[in-house]
């Protein structure tokens, strides 16, 4: 269903539209000159346009990912901007935020420019770089925050690097506040996490794995919330994993703290039990936690305390996962499966389709101060997928250089038929 000639007017008919208010409603969508020109009844009988038949499909704003590792610059054996942005387009994403955990780290305008230049020529989708909060992500010295933002970074993060101590964190927040920059922080108390690599609980106790206790996250969440409240920085807590964190964030929001949060899709679907056979695919950071945590996170997604679901895509070469668990590298290659994993939650009635799609589109866009909505005048970033159609995530179907996917040997629901960025086809066969 590719739009080869990219005509100025395209009409998507027969599909079910996700409207800005979260309603799912059958109707056509008209696109002209890279923008949505009419939605629903207003798009009827719009005269001359290339027609795309979306029968049986959902037509949604393009998915937005707040955390994706594109592995470029520096980690070519694991992937690059070309392979990973194409994979994201295959997953229905029209925008991904590029993690600063590259080599060199994206802690200067020069690296940001490099990522933007390469993306501009090789990516079929939008790539928004995230800069490092501290130099080299080492948690000691502040990065040139204003310069990073001027170069095009949409937020600043410290990834798993953390901060040397609360004083550096406090100052990073106060400095970021100066410029109104969003800090996208991964809460983890490094002293409590120590050498751990799995949720400290039943499975670590049984298998003798080194645990990361829940308090490694919750004490960091509390510290970040209090410091954000004090400095007034715009805080986004990235990839939380504990039910308790959701409660703390909800309380902070109630008293007016300017905080948002996201969760990785695999945290909503899997628990610590996934490690019971020492399967290194499920070595992720933060670790997969208990069923009670998973329930708490789902509740946070339903209520909106967690406004965004991310892929936390981390493609790896085979060797990175071929070792005893402790010696493997954390992360799943997930960007192509996120939508299908979400549909599994819908199938199990743990999330509604509408909430799922909002947390993958408008929610993450709002964190970036953007919009993702099917409304007249909006840029035509669109994802069309067939929710009932099945596919198998294997080496034949995956586009990413990483093949450590969360669900194998199991047909997934949800095939992305069309990913459109600014009215141009990004998937299938989209290549600028």
């Amino acid at each position: 269903m590719s739009v080869s000639s990219q005509p100025s007017r395209v009409k998507i008919v027969g599909g079910t539209l996700l409207l800005p208010d979260g309603q799912l409603q059958a109707g056509p969508l008209l696109i002209a000159d890279g923008h949505i020109s009419a939605v629903g009844a207003a798009a009827e009988g719009a005269g001359d346009a290339t027609v795309i038949n979306a029968e049986g499909c959902i037509v949604s704003p393009g998915l937005v990912d707040l955390w994706c590792n594109l592995r470029e610059p520096g980690d070519g054996q694991k992937g690059n901007i070309t392979s990973e942005t194409r994979a994201a387009a295959h997953g229905g994403f029209t925008t991904v935020c590029a993690s600063p955990e590259t080599s060199p780290v994206n802690d200067s305008g020069a690296v940001t420019h490099l990522i933007r230049d390469v993306s501009g020529s090789r990516s079929p989708i939008r790539v928004l770089p995230i800069g490092a909060t501290t130099k080299g992500l080492e948690g000691e010295l502040l990065s040139d925050m204003a310069g990073l933002v001027r170069a095009g970074c949409v937020a600043l993060a410290n990834g798993r690097g953390g901060f040397r101590d609360a004083r550096v964190l406090h100052r990073a927040m106060a400095y970021a506040r100066t410029f109104g920059i969003t800090l996208m922080l991964h809460p983890e108390n490094q002293a409590l996490a120590a050498d751990g690599y799995a949720h400290d609980g039943r499975i670590t106790t049984r298998l003798g794995l080194l645990g990361i206790p829940e308090v490694a996250e919750t004490t960091a969440v509390m510290e970040m919330l209090l410091l954000a409240e004090e400095t007034g920085v715009r805080l986004h807590l990235a990839q939380i994993s504990c039910g308790r964190s959701v409660q703390m964030i909800a309380e902070a929001r109630q008293r007016g703290v300017n905080v948002t949060a996201d969760v990785a899709m695999h945290q909503l679907l899997l628990t610590e039990e996934a490690l019971s056979g020492f399967d290194s695919r499920f070595h992720v950071r933060p670790p997969l936690r208990s069923e009670a945590d998973r329930q708490g996170l789902l509740e946070g997604v339903r209520t909106g305390v967690i406004g965004a679901i991310v892929s936390a895509h981390q493609p790896h070469d085979t060797a990175a996962k071929q070792a005893p668990l402790a010696a493997t590298e954390p992360g799943l290659s997930s960007v192509e499966s996120v939508l299908s994993m979400g549909l599994m939650l819908v199938e199990r009635q743990e999330l509604s389709l509408s909430v799922l799609l909002q947390r993958l589109t408008a929610g993450p866009a709002a964190v970036l101060g953007r919009k993702a909505a099917l409304e007249a005048g909006a840029i035509a970033d669109i994802c069309v997928f067939a929710p009932q159609e099945r596919w198998l995530a294997d080496s034949a179907s995956l586009v990413s250089a990483g093949h450590h996917v969360p669900v194998v040997n199991h047909a997934l629901h949800g095939v992305v038929r069309l990913t459109m960025v600014g009215g141009r086809t990004a998937w299938p066969s989209g290549y600028p």
């Binding site: 049984r206 003798g208 794995l209 206790p213 056979g277 020492f278 399967d279 290194s280 070792a323 599994m344």
Partner: protein, 336 residues
């Protein structure tokens, strides 16, 4: 949702329930554990002969693959393999390949090229033998000689053999394991074996810093106070305390640990009069156990060492038997 996982027992058992690897006691049945103990009993007699050999592994190559050094475990595995008439190769990997940057996968490929039949693996990381079992070519048996904090199944089985020799049964026994449970692969395997074999109670006795979270999920009761914990015991198993535990802020001093959790004559007097004292060794006299107890009439520590050879012979011969059965059935199906 949990993605379908190969459970540990499906990795180590053949389709008809025989051992093909020996990785963990988790998931093994009481019948199988009893079978191991009975087989080991029959090998004890071999050790008492003038000619201490049986031809069960004749022509087989057993590689002792020790990524972590160990004198005692390695030498008992070596003796066990030799008494089964196998050819034995001892590799101390901790000082060779890995220090040159070779990955574990590559080391294994090289060793497999030497046409080995069995790897006895000791590794500092939990799950390493599972990883090796999942990646070796079919037909090669993996025996876990201790992995990280996870499991030390042959040690636990020799302890079970020792208990059975002295108590004659498992039903109704109260057994305590004392000391550093958190870091102990031995304790995890022992708790598993004791529960499977049907003891009345497994108690762990330790300070909060040396217990894993949710320790009860292992199938034991938790007691912080050793004097309370010693009551009614039939068996007390002491664990070795590593000196480095003082550095990690887990304990204040050896002296305090000994006073609270060291097994001395006065604490032992609180147990049943016929309570036996066990220790996987090597022992720290004056840290976790008093010399007079370690060398006393209720100590069975040296029986444990003797039993170690018989248990390892049993496990090695059973796993090799499982591999041979599988190979025969693969040939029957026309697969290589």
């Amino acid at each position: 949702m949990t993605t379908p996982q190969p459970s540990p027992d499906s990795v180590q058992l053949t389709a008809d329930g025989q051992l093909r690897h020996f990785l963990t006691l988790d998931g093994l049945s009481r019948e199988l554990l009893t079978d191991i103990l009975d087989t080991a009993d029959s090998f004890i007699e071999v050790g008492e002969r003038a000619i201490k050999k049986v031809p069960l592994l004749r022509g087989r190559t057993v590689v002792n693959l020790f990524f972590e050094s160990s004198t005692r475990t390695r030498s008992t595995f070596e003796l066990a393999a030799k008494r089964l008439s196998a050819d034995v190769l001892n590799l101390d990997i901790s000082t060779s390949a890995t220090s040159k940057g070779e990955s574990l996968s590559d080391t294994l490929l090289n060793l497999e090229a030497m046409a080995s039949d069995m790897f006895v693996v000791r590794h500092a990381q939990s799950g390493a033998p599972h990883f090796i079992a999942a990646s070796v070519t079919p037909g090669v048996a993996i025996i876990n000689a201790g992995d990280g904090r996870h499991a030390h199944p042959t040690q636990a089985m020799l302890d079970m053999l020792t208990i059975r020799q002295h108590k004659g049964r498992f039903e109704g026994l109260k057994v305590a394991i004392v000391g550093d449970i958190l870091h102990s692969r031995v304790a995890r395997s022992q708790i598993c074996a004791l529960n499977t074999l049907g003891v009345e109670e497994v108690r762990v006795i330790a300070p909060g810093t040396l217990l894993p979270s949710d320790a009860e999920h292992l199938g034991c009761t938790v007691e912080y106070d050793m004097e309370k914990g010693m009551r009614d015991l039939d068996v007390v198993i002491m664990l070795r305390l590593q000196k480095e535990r003082m550095q990690g802020a887990l304990l204040p001093s050896e002296q305090e640990f000994y006073r609270l959790y060291g097994l001395d004559r006065s604490k032992l007097a609180l147990a049943k009069p016929d309570c036996i004292v066990m220790h996987p060794g090597p022992i720290n006299r004056g840290v976790e156990i008093e010399s007079a107890v370690a060398d006393g009439p209720r100590s069975v520590i040296l029986n444990q060492v003797t039993n170690g050879i018989a248990v390892r012979m049993a496990v090695m011969s059973m796993a090799m038997g499982g591999q041979v059965t599988e190979r025969v059935s693969r040939l029957g199906e026309g697969q290589p």
